[in-house]
Symmetry: C2
Subunit: 176 residues, 2 copies
DNA sequence: CGTGCGATGTCAGTTGCTGTCATCAGCGTA
DNA sequence: TACGCTGATGACAGCAACTGACATCGCACG
């Protein structure tokens, strides 16, 4: 992982071969593919943990909490966790932004997050299509907030940006 | 395109090689790659036209129309166009649903649609982050509606499903 | 001191994709 | 009619991502 991150940063994702990563890590190419399904997956190793955090936070919200607010609570928890990573998430995002292939992979990870979120909401008793719509809207909020967080030079608080984005979504959807 | 559709349907996307497609079409593999950037792109050839329709419909909405309703108008137009395709969109979607690689590609096409939509809204004078949020929410509505349209055995009207999904999003975001 | 077992190395092979050069058909022009 | 241009295609070599199969090795456990 360290070797891959370093090389992707130095010369870009498409320009680095798996052979180079393996060599830098002192391993074989074959061994790389035993740990990561493909060349991109290295950058998304922590995605599962994030999804579990999201889901468990949603499930722990009081039963009286509205679906959209339960979703928001989960997303804020995920945002807080990301923020713990220091400069690494920003470096990671810079690598991803530079490659169309990696952006594709990121989108499917976000979609998987959305479906896990919809699932959690359904287990809270939310019906379809409300569960899916809430989940998709939640991920949209997260995405916009995250992008702002990345772009902000001043170190804004990510959970706070998520809350702000949700408020703006409420206004915008209401037809303002 | 016809050869690719047929083979993807018959034996699945991953199981068909470009050489087979080329042979079926009476062409060379090299020629295939001159027309399509990669093996997946065959299935997304019409995406540009759809985006143009979306954007132009959004831009043509009266200036007094709220951003979310302008977006909805564009999405309904796109939905109507898709519906014109008869059984082809359903066949296409069956192929895509069966392959993780293709789902990735579909997501990035939807993301590109979202960014084009946000762009159109900004040109209508909508500020950030409202434009991005409206666009993302609009695409979420579209996605949920489209999925329902695919699943429905009774031939539901896609633009109508989009309108319904938007109404449900409004309710859900308001905290119901 | 064996004996499994999980992680790694080795090697050969397939497939997606690209660069390069040759060929060929149509089409306008001297 | 002959010439030259252009755009589409074929032919071929090559790289890199991945995969399957088998061998090896270190290490815990009995």
């Amino acid at each position: 992982m360290q070797a891959a991150f370093a090389l992707y940063s130095e010369r870009g994702f498409e320009q680095t071969t798996v052979a180079e990563i393996a060599k830098r890590a002192g391993l074989t190419e074959r061994t790389f593919f035993r740990h990561f399904a493909d060349k991109r997956e290295v950058l998304f190793a922590g995605a599962d943990a994030l999804r579990e955090l999201l889901v468990s936070t949603v499930m722990q919200a009081p039963a009286s909490t509205a679906p959209i607010d339960a979703a928001a609570a989960g997303l804020e928890a995920a945002g807080a966790a990301i923020q713990e990573g220091g400069e690494l998430p920003r470096q990671r995002q810079a690598i991803i932004a530079a490659s169309a292939e990696l952006r594709e992979r990121e989108l499917i990870k976000l979609a998987s997050l959305a479906s896990a979120l919809a699932d959690a909401l359904r287990r809270r008793g939310v019906e379809e299509p409300a569960a899916s719509l809430t989940a998709e809207a939640g991920i949209a909020v997260f995405r916009v907030a995250f992008e702002r967080w990345i772009d902000e030079s001043d170190q804004q608080d990510l959970p706070r940006l998520i809350r702000q984005s949700l408020e703006q979504l409420k206004a915008v959807v209401a037809g303002v």
